[in-house]
Symmetry: C2
Subunit: 388 residues, 2 copies
């Protein structure tokens, strides 16, 4: 549980709403996962889609991560531009000039990519020049989520061969992400689902091996599945993400012994009390544009009497209901609201205020959010339809 006080002087001048990270808990989460991976002899490639922060990625690398995972080419570009040395893009890169940008990244830094279709392979091969080093590709395997990936061991083998045969490409292994099992609460049930998803990936690996194309890398997993993928799973590296901040949903998950996962909530939205005219309730300046709604309602609220509850009250507002006869926080005072779904909450902000127990504060920018550039090709001059 965080020891942060929303009304500590060091947080008093921050423009709200704002993301605040408990730096002590963040560091502990990072170290705990790194230690578990070291013990298990499995590599960590933390997914940067959770935090979108080069500062956090750097700390993950410092304790032994082999690189990072990125969900989009934009994330990889921004991370590499900030000095992060190694990125795996975990989703097919298709359309526009993204393949050209991928090649540019490859010329500057270590980058790997997942593919799930021969035409993606052909496009990338064609975009590379004869002086380029071979680009490393993983075949994405659908292990039950039905989102991306090849859907059989035969398809997997065919695509791996296609990569090997294409100029300037190198087949290095497999990716399988079991998004559908990450949030299963009961340990035994989650373990079974992780096992079934892993079996699909193992069958692909075996088929490739029999054909002389044994995968060097098998990348995947997530915070929920990591309990089981850490010991005896099929992965050589784990793409865990949410553990750095945890969230309400992962907080409900249980380990084999019934204990919760060993990571603590470290991500909060700092908000200001802006209206106090109603009995038993105050209004704060954080709503659906500051806190993601696709999680349980926020239940950690610091700076108000115990038993208070938060309700979304529009894009820029939330209301906090106070327990009967509790003293209301004053106008202008701060509250910290625990983020219940971290990735999309992070995506609403442009940086973190990182606080540690001793009152220190840093600001870490968030990168890699969508910014859809105007195409490079010349455009016809915009002529907005006459509006009268």
């Amino acid at each position: 549980m965080t020891a942060l006080d929303p009304n500590t002087p060091v947080l008093s001048d921050i423009e709200t709403p704002a993301l605040v990270v408990d730096g002590t808990l963040l560091a502990a989460n990072i170290e705990r996962m790194a230690a578990a991976a070291r013990r298990a002899g499995v590599a960590l490639r933390p997914h940067a889609k959770t935090h979108k922060s080069p500062d956090i990625a750097r700390r993950q690398l410092r304790v032994g991560a082999v690189g990072i995972a990125c969900a989009t080419i934009r994330e990889a570009e921004d991370m590499i531009a900030a000095g992060i040395p190694d990125a795996l893009i975990t989703s097919p890169v298709v359309g526009g000039d993204k393949v050209r940008r991928l090649v540019e990244l490859h010329r500057r830094s270590a980058v790997m990519l997942t593919v799930d279709h021969p035409s993606q392979v052909d496009d990338i091969s064609a975009a590379l020049g004869s002086n380029d080093m071979p680009l490393a590709l993983l075949v994405d395997v659908d292990i039950g989520q039905a989102r991306t990936g090849v859907t059989s061991a035969e398809e997997c083998l065919a695509l791996a061969r296609h990569i090997q045969a294409a100029p300037r490409l190198r087949f290095v292994g497999l990716q399988g992400y079991a998004g559908h099992v990450q949030h299963i609460i009961a340990a035994q049930e989650r373990r079974q689902a992780v096992h079934e998803a892993g079996a699909v990936l193992r069958a692909c690996a075996d088929r490739l091996k029999a054909d002389g194309l044994a995968p060097t890398v098998i990348s995947g997993s997530g915070t929920g599945a990591s309990t089981f993928d850490l010991d005896g799973g099929c992965y050589t590296e784990l793409q865990v993400g949410s553990y750095v901040f945890m969230d309400a949903d992962y907080g409900r998950l249980r380990e084999r012994d019934g204990a919760p996962l060993p990571y603590e909530n470290a991500l909060f939205v700092l908000a200001t009390v802006i209206s106090i005219n109603r009995a038993g309730q105050v209004t704060v300046d954080a709503g659906t544009k500051a806190l993601a709604v696709n999680g349980p309602p926020p239940d950690i609220i610091i700076g108000v009497p115990g038993g208070s509850s938060y309700t979304f009250a529009g894009d820029e507002h939330g209301t906090i209901r106070l327990p009967p006869s509790a003293a209301a926080p004053t106008l202008g005072s701060h509250v910290l609201i625990g983020a219940t779904h971290c990735d999309p909450t992070v995506n609403l902000h442009d940086g973190y205020h990182v606080a540690s127990g001793d009152g220190m504060l840093a600001y870490w920018p968030i990168v890699g959010r969508y910014r859809s550039t105007t195409p490079q090709a010349p455009l016809k001059r915009a002529a907005f339809p006459a509006s009268r």
Copy 2:
């Protein structure tokens, strides 16, 4: 219904996911609301929280809007910096150095503010200098939403008097936003709720008038209530926002005659098909970080066979299920997905690609999103806890 084709050449090079606006429908929506207001003799002060776009605000002003409404000081700052001449901030400005920033804005441009507590009034009065022009304030009245605002006519009068008595401030009127009535579908039921909310505001206005403080401005309403507030409501100006783009929820609302509101869906997310390995389904690169989830699921999907349906499949992915035996769109092709909740969808992007039927394209930036600056006061040097 939009005539835009997601695979028209002019959209082909856009980095997806991206916001695309049908410029023809946007212009028609803007003109239609402006014409209705002209006929009714009511002023328009469109809410910029919907679009966060100086380009759209400028077009609203061009057809007669008296100014814009902003939800936050950040929105007002960015709008005024982009040349929009007049902004009402519709929520109390409390905390940090926001009052100082408000005063700076007031020195540069026409700005009005709502307040709901005497201490807000005192803070603003104290921050103004003796050379400053008086700053115009509205008293925010809670007309049923229980979010911000004074809660009785007596409180309203007391706060108006407090403003009048404070140095360098000017009481100009009232604001009442009936957020709770905007989305009532049936016309008769919505009309009744609008009437009840208006009655609270009228009672406040009458009380003030009896005391010689008749409000010059009564600001409020929204797209859903505008049907009734346009004819004979209590407002001198309407803060309508969503009508520029419409959204799925407002699309269900009915007018007195059973017709839908006369505005059309003009806002879409352009996405790319990135995986086609599963029968009857494709995967696109737009998920919960590209489309707001707090609305009905997207139901307008252009570029796929009729009868297709979209499902969120994570932060960066969506799956589109195709009707039986329909031809699947090809890898790399584009689809347009109608935004079902506009304001929070806009908030996920940094600009609009505006397309009109004749193939023209413009890029309009989105401003005023949260960016929590590091406080101006010097900080102790950040010392992130040692992570090993």
